[in-house]
């Protein structure tokens, strides 16, 4: 699905992309059912917790709320006091283990009500979600860690684990943080994912 959000674009975007998730409302959990009776309990283990030193200046993946076979992954911006012009998160996972359900805007780069634009697309190839977040011109800087976006996944089967990672970190066609002129401003070690599992 493709989703655009923004106060000026809400109607047009909803119309155009035939959003399957609730356009203008921040994405959402989509089909979060299936827990009762599926027998799978979803879990997510972060590779680098925000309490660890590895999170300094990094973008990390943290476990959010979880219920039955659905788990939320929070993408945290820990690069502080740096003006961010745009964030492109190219996320990869095993599509036989996890299924993307939807998203919720974070606060780190602002919400669509304030002019921040979100483009979220999971139709490029199985096991990939592309998230683009652009605050209004001039960018945005934060002084304490905050969530950029929350993604919701359904874990499809009992599994020992499936990596959740950032594709092509620090490349123009992959995962990157940009300043307001389009220069990539995060090193390749600054992206940490996690592990889906189902029990």
């Amino acid at each position: 699905m493709k989703l655009v959000q923004g106060s000026r674009m809400a109607f047009l975007s909803c119309f155009l992309v035939l959003a399957l998730v609730n356009c203008g409302g921040g994405g959402g959990g989509g089909d979060s059912g299936g827990g009762a009776g599926s027998g799978v309990i979803a879990d997510f283990t972060a590779n680098c917790l925000n309490t660890d030193a590895c999170s300094n200046g990094a973008v990390t993946s943290q476990k959010g709320t979880a219920a039955n076979n659905v788990v939320e992954v929070q993408l945290w911006l820990n690069k502080l006091n740096t003006t961010i012009g745009e964030a492109q998160l190219d996320l990869a996972f095993d599509p036989t283990v996890a299924s993307y359900q939807g998203y919720t805007e974070g606060t780190a780069l602002g919400g669509s009500g304030g002019g921040t634009k979100y483009l979220v697309d999971d139709q490029q190839q199985p096991g990939e979600v592309l998230v683009d977040i652009a605050p209004p011109a001039g960018g945005k800087s934060i002084s304490s860690p905050a969530i950029m976006v929350k993604l919701t996944f359904k874990v499809l089967k009992v599994s020992g684990g499936s990596n959740f990672s950032f594709r092509n970190p620090d490349t123009l066609n992959g995962t990157a943080l940009f300043n307001t002129t389009g220069v990539i401003i995060l090193t390749i070690n600054g992206w940490t994912g996690g592990l889906f599992s189902g029990v």
Binding site: K2, L3, V4, G6, R8, M9, L12, S13, L16, V17, G85, E86, Q88, D90, K117, L119, D121, Q123, Q124, L130, D132, A134, P135, P136, A137, L172, N173, A176, F178, T180, G182
Partner: protein
């Protein structure tokens, strides 16, 4: 073209010297939207004489042999000749008429031309932005041998030739930032201009389509990341503004707005090479 007409229908009275000027170039004063097919608009300089009662405009399909006429009030210096046959060259001349109904002895100079040209269809009827040397065939009526197509400033006409009064060909280049005409954008006006200026237009016979390569604003090979950044940086700007970015104006309408973001969203994540 300037001619003098000597009127001397009342011997003993002073001869009235009427000076007419019928300019073929004045046909250009016609607004395309005001012209319908089968129409020639003629205009002339007014005659400054107290006895003037009006004008009589003569026309026909043979030079010097006028089979039709129309009378025009003295306050008018232009008129439309209507219900003319397509693809026929008409010859037109004017006489002045005084209060007694006497016409000037001589005609004004004669002008000739076909009715205003009118485009109908273009084949192919669409092409993407950034298309070079696209050959198109334009059908319509009243194209003279020098008929020239005009698709707007963002489509370059490299060459053209009228093959008949109802068909012409053209080689065109659609610029990269040409205005997109597919819905909900506005249709494009095609104008055909005959030698000397008569012209006719039609809205919509040719459509410029969005070129998806333009969604990759930064030419990185994939739509996303900096493309959204560049759009955001230019968001709300119009052509001429300091932050206007023609590359972010994906639909070429002179404004970087939500419509451009929509195009970006449609192609978001797409890899071109």
């Amino acid at each position: 073209m300037l001619s003098s007409i000597i009127k001397d229908s009342h011997p003993g009275r002073k001869a009235l010297r009427w000076i007419f000027w019928i300019g073929a170039t004045l046909l250009l004063i016609l607004l395309p939207s005001a012209v319908s097919a089968g129409t020639i608009k003629v205009a002339w300089d007014p005659v400054g004489d107290a006895d003037l009662a009006g004008y009589k405009v003569y026309y026909g399909t043979t030079s010097g042999l006028y089979t039709s006429s129309t009378t025009v009030a003295k306050e008018q210096t232009a008129t439309d000749l209507t219900n003319l046959q397509d693809c026929k060259v008409y010859y037109v001349a004017v006489k002045a008429v005084d209060a007694n109904g006497n016409e000037s002895q001589a005609f004004s100079n004669e002008i000739s031309g076909m009715s205003a040209p009118m485009p109908a269809t273009v084949s192919p009827n669409s092409a993407k932005q950034a298309t070079n040397n696209q050959l198109v065939t334009i059908s319509g009526t009243n194209f003279d041998t020098q008929a020239r197509p005009d698709f707007g400033p963002d489509i370059l006409v490299n060459s053209y030739a009228a093959t008949s009064c109802s068909q012409m060909t053209a080689n065109i280049t659609i610029t990269a930032a040409a205005r997109v005409n597919s819905a909900p954008s506005l249709p494009r006006l095609l104008t055909i201009i005959n030698q000397g200026g008569p012209q006719g237009s039609k809205s919509g016979p040719f459509t410029v389509l969005f070129n998806e390569l333009r969604a990759d604003i930064d030419k990185s090979g994939r739509v996303g990341g900096r493309d959204l950044l560049f759009w955001q940086n230019a968001f709300g700007s119009v052509s001429g503004d300091p932050n206007y970015n023609i590359d972010a104006d994906l639909n070429g309408d002179g404004t970087v707005d939500g419509a451009d973001l929509t195009l970006l969203a449609v192609w978001h994540g797409h890899i071109f090479f």
